[in-house]
């Protein structure tokens, strides 16, 4: 496959940045999107240019490090991560636009790399459970209903990639935050901090400069892990419940 790429290049957070056009040739349809970018970067290095900076780590869709906006869609046309997106999703001769996540809370560091530490600060505000340390607890000591376990697992699938924020017209982190809250709030282990968790994490989310949810649904469409939109309603329910209990 021969492709034309238009990639966002930005030297530093202060730099204005612009789309720059590149051409890549002989791309295999079995390559992942990141491998295609690797090919481009090797050529750029050989010709003495700066390679395109992008985030990645596991390359198997589980760490959440990768993530770019491809043709206006977070992680591109398939419901998966950019590292698991294959070039067979494109056609020979295509022009592909590649941009970084756009949100006030995710400032661009360089090229396609953004600073997502705002997510870490939301997690720090309550995305944990308090347990006595020491020997490992007996596995059957705390019974978890199957339904709760499934619900927790569905939300634990969130890899914190930030596609939801990137896709949202308001740069809202409510899908991410709801995944974290619902994951822990449904479990007996998370019960002691049930109210403080939702109140503190929502406050942290608002404090990081994320927007609010207008129920547009772009987040759930973009989420590679299929966190559904009603999860935000579940968080709202937890939030209103916590306000009443406080």
């Amino acid at each position: 496959m021969n492709l034309t790429l238009r990639i966002w290049r930005q030297h530093s957070p202060e730099d204005k940045g612009a789309m720059v056009t590149y051409r890549v040739e002989d791309i295999s349809p079995d390559m992942s999107f990141l491998e295609m970018l690797d090919v481009l970067n090797e050529e750029l290095i050989l010709s003495g240019e700066e390679p395109v900076a992008f985030d990645h780590d596991c390359r198997e869709g589980i760490c959440g490090a990768c993530g770019v906006v491809i043709n206006g869609q977070a992680h591109g046309p398939e419901r998966t991560t950019a590292c698991q997106l294959h070039m067979r999703s494109f056609k020979d001769g295509d022009t592909i636009d590649v941009e970084p996540w756009r949100a006030a809370a995710f400032p661009v560091v360089r090229d396609l790399v953004v600073d997502r530490s705002a997510f870490d600060r939301v997690i720090q505000a309550g995305g944990y459970v308090s347990v006595p340390t020491g020997s490992a607890p007996e596995a059957h000591a705390t019974a978890v209903p199957k339904e709760s376990a499934d619900y927790a697992f569905e939300h634990a699938e969130c890899i914190g990639c930030g596609a939801c924020v990137a896709a949202c017209p308001n740069g809202s982190a409510m899908l991410f935050t709801s995944a974290k809250i619902n994951h822990l709030n449904v479990l007996p282990q998370g019960a002691p901090e049930r109210e403080t968790r939702v109140l503190n994490m929502v406050a942290a989310m608002d404090g990081q400069g994320f927007g609010g949810c207008t129920n547009t649904g772009e987040c759930a469409t973009a989420c590679p892990k299929g966190i559904p939109l009603p999860s935000i309603a579940a968080m709202n329910r937890e939030y209103l419940r916590a306000l009443r209990k406080r």
């Binding site: 869609q73 636009d97 547009t216 009603p230």
Partner: protein, 213 residues
């Protein structure tokens, strides 16, 4: 998130009012005596506990508070949302529905319409006939003017779209949505929006076609 709850709560209250208002409007099909008597009865609600028209003023105060709170919260939330996404994508692709994308401007249109509507049929300031105590005749005089029809029809369509997204959005904000109920609530939003739009639209259409005169 408190402000979203305010938007949702005030929105639902206004929605309840709109359902009753629409049903009341349909009484126009039973003729002038019936419609004017209904309007007169509205002023007697709560008697003898309440004095004449007191209930009406209580309701007006409540609705005004709702419109103001809803509008102020919308403005403040919109400002925050726009600030949270300062840079736009070069490659644009919007998949949001028309109703979703028009909430802000649609809301402003409905808000402006409410002002016009009150000047028209409550204070009678801009009504072509403007005779107090004769709402039937005032409504008919209104809808005989083509541009008044246009104003009402545009506003009603905007309102329908606003409710289409707003009702489900309020359910989401108040935590009423879950995976099982999602479909049912979306259908309710569509049906509610369609019924209100149709119910409000038939009145100007009936006057224009001469069915009501």
């Amino acid at each position: 998130m408190g402000k979203k709850a305010v938007m949702a709560g005030t929105g639902v209250v206004m929605l309840l009012f709109l359902v009753v208002h629409m049903l009341g409007n349909l009484k126009i099909f039973f003729g002038p005596e019936n419609f004017n008597a209904y309007a007169a009865w509205l002023r007697t609600i709560g008697e003898p506990v309440l004095h004449e028209s007191w209930y009406l003023w209580i309701q007006r105060t409540g609705l005004l508070a709702c419109v103001v709170l809803h509008g102020v919260a919308a403005y403040q939330l919109s400002r925050r949302d726009l600030a949270a996404r300062p840079a736009k994508y070069v490659h644009k692709q919007s998949r949001a529905s028309y109703a979703t994308r028009t909430m802000r401007w649609g809301g402003v249109i409905v808000g402006l319409f409410i002002v016009w509507h009150i000047l028209d049929l409550t204070t009678l300031t801009v009504n072509p006939r403007g005779q107090a105590g004769h709402p039937y005749e005032n409504v008919v005089a209104d809808f005989r003017v083509w541009w008044v029809d246009v104003v009402y029809i545009v506003a009603i369509l905007a309102l329908g779209l606003h409710i289409r997204h707003g009702f489900w959005s309020a359910a989401q904000t108040l935590g009423a949505v879950n995976k099982r109920r999602d479909r049912a609530l979306k259908t309710t939003a569509t049906v509610l929006a369609a019924v209100l739009t149709a119910g409000f639209l038939v009145v100007p259409v009936a006057v224009m076609s001469g069915l009501v005169d």
